[in-house]
Amino acid sequence: MNGPGTSLDREGLVRRFTTALEAAAGGVRRAPDAVAGGQILVEVVKTAGGGPVLLVRDPVLEAAGAAEALAAAGVETSFWEPGQPPNRLRQAATRARVGVTVPRLAIADTGTLVLVPAAGAGRTVDLLPPVHAAVVPTARLVPDLSAALARLGGSVPPSTVALVTGPSRTADIELQLTLGVHGPGTVVAVLVDGLE
């Protein structure tokens, strides 16, 4: 909608995404490949105070060896397993300190993560734990909101799409910005090259 849009190269998108998410009080890390992405995820979890960690079932996390890397670091992990009763999953999400997601897209202009639920990815993995870590292949960056909506909209969109831009926030008490009111107070995106 504004800015030069699709003509920007990948690095330009990464820079814009980073600036925008940091402006929204989120954090951004960068990994040159999938395995490095898994290692950085471990660092992010440790910085946040450790597990339990709840992960979505997603090929990107498998490629990154995320669960193995976390287990090797002694962090308690569990997956949002398809087919489990919702209550069990909800309990896991409530117990977890860190929820790990794999966004469908990321919007450079606004620093936004685009989450779409699936069998192995519940709606609240990012929302109930106090920390949200998203593993994002840089190939999934799009320039702006219009570009993202063009891919998601149409006449039969998914049942839910959540755009997430930084931590949950409020300024309802005396205009003081407070993070983590209902959702996470910490949001970190791990941008990973070399994955689709």
Partner: protein, 485 residues
């Protein structure tokens, strides 16, 4: 200005608000913050004016075929497995939601912010059925505990101090340190988290509804909107008839403007797009989705001189720049909507007879019109409402008499000259430092809080006739140039 009123009106409520220095400071600070942030966020766009024009065109095109779009929306929501009901009145809307709760045996409803639900009095209606409704937006939660209506469209509890919030939370400090905003927020998070996990029904508003796909869009910062629409088994969404947009392309335009205009954010922390209930194979989400499309007087405005009020996307910008709102805050407007948009919308939806004084709560400076992202000519609408008020004979006998007198005198030069000379004489005991500071009965109320420049000793016409206009104008008289002198 509104003459004397038998029942409490805007002036009484405004008087109460003005007597509360804390609220005035809070409202001023909040509106300043939003205003500055909005300007920066819009300036950062390539072509903010062009975008506003597009937004306005989208809203106009939407209203031009609203019935078709609502049909389409309904069809698409049903196709996605949702229920749709059209509520002509507030009572119908409340009745439907109460019915859903009754049939599911729901005792606890968690709710994210919805102005239209406040408009139809939903919490009250559900409460009467024995259903507990918990507001989960932090600001709404605070004012629900206080039993007050919102004081700002975007920040409903800006009039509450930290200490007042602590009291409402039952955390009154006994001489100890006052809890800070972070501690209060953490307390509310823990308390409301339990409610989220226990609730039977989630109730949300709708910022936009995309007709082509049957998708509702929710814009929040706290994330409560997502919890409300993800955790309970049933999700009920309430929307004003006019919230619909035709396509996702149109949505992109409005969604670019809404957060920038409201809080100055490029994007709020959360935006949800919801199309029906959860689908087969999905891990979680509500099993039922109900969309309640509320008319409540809106369709009656289509095709009238007030139609444009339905363009509103509830960003709150017009409140933040309004010199009246900035002084008196939201409660003076007496109902759910405040500021310029409230002064226009309330009489139209809730009745001219009861709310005829709200359109007078404006200096007609047009600051509201200037900032409105969808370019609603708010000050024109206020003027139209004012003249409708006069046409309907709501203006009060004193005001009507005064204008009839004025019309008589102004049309007769001799009478006019005489009146001006007499007034210049009669005002003498009431003038101090060149200003009228007191007045007889009809002027007394107006002059209680204001001074009015006194009439000059010699009128403009007298100066003109005597050929001494130049020397008078050059005499350094601060009030030179007044046309009626």
């Amino acid at each position: 200005m509104s003459g004397l009123r038998a029942r409490p009106g805007f002036l009484d409520r405004a008087g109460r608000a003005l007597a509360d220095p804390l609220t005035r400071r809070a409202v001023a600070a909040a509106t300043d913050r939003f205003r500055t942030a909005r300007r920066a966020a819009l300036d950062a766009l390539d072509d903010p004016e062009g975008l506003r024009d597009r937004a306005r065109a989208i809203r106009a095109a939407t209203l031009a075929r609203l019935p078709d779009l609502i049909d389409r929306l309904e069809e698409r929501v049903r196709a996605a497995g949702g229920h749709v009901v059209r509520a002509a009145t507030a009572a119908e809307a409340c009745g439907y939601v109460a019915g859903v709760c009754r049939e599911r045996g729901a005792r606890l409803v968690v709710k994210s912010k919805s102005m239209v639900s406040e408009e139809v009095g939903l919490n009250h209606a559900l409460g009467a059925e024995g259903v507990r409704v918990v507001e989960t937006d932090l600001g709404e939660f605070i004012i629900q505990l206080a039993g007050e209506p919102p004081s700002h469209l975007v920040a409903p509890a800006i009039h509450k101090s930290r200490r007042q919030v602590a009291d409402l939370f039952g955390l009154a400090s006994d001489g100890g340190a006052e809890p800070d905003a972070a501690a209060l927020t953490a307390w509310a998070r823990a308390r409301l988290r339990e409610e989220f996990l226990r609730a039977d029904v989630g109730l949300s508003g709708v910022n936009f509804a995309v007709a082509e796909s049957g998708t509702i869009v929710l814009v929040t910062n706290e994330g409560n909107g997502r919890l409300v629409t993800s955790l309970p088994r049933v999700h009920v969404a309430l929307m004003g008839l006019e919230r619909v947009v035709p396509t996702w392309n149109d949505l992109a335009v409005l969604l670019t403007l809404l957060p920038r205009s409201a809080t100055g954010q490029k994007m709020t922390s959360y935006v949800s797009f919801i199309t029906g209930p959860r689908r087969a194979g999905e891990a979680d989400g509500p099993e039922e989705f109900h969309l309640v499309i509320v008319d409540n007087g809106r369709s009656a405005l289509l095709g009238t001189e007030y139609e444009e009020v339905l363009h509103c996307i509830r960003c709150g910008s017009c409140l933040n720049v309004c010199p009246v709102y900035r002084q008196v805050g939201g409660h003076a407007y007496g109902w759910v909507y405040s500021g310029p948009i409230g002064a226009v919308l309330t009489p139209l939806l809730a009745g001219m007879e009861t709310w005829d004084d709200l359109p007078l709560a404006s200096s007609l400076c047009a600051a509201c019109t200037e900032v409105c992202p969808v370019k609603i000519p708010l000050h024109d609408l206020l003027l139209r409402l004012r003249s409708a008020r006069v046409r309907r004979g709501l203006a009060g006998a004193g005001e009507r008499l005064a204008f009839r007198l004025w019309a008589f005198v102004a049309a007769r030069p001799a009478a006019y000259r005489l009146a001006v000379s007499l007034a210049a004489l009669a005002q003498r005991p009431l003038v101090r430092d060149g200003h009228l500071v007191r007045g007889p009965a009809p002027l007394a109320a107006w002059l209680r809080d204001r001074d009015f420049p006194a009439l000059a000793d010699r009128s403009f016409q007298q100066l003109w006739a005597s050929g001494r206009l130049d020397s008078a104008a050059g005499s350094g008289d601060a009030d030179a140039g007044g046309g009626t002198r």
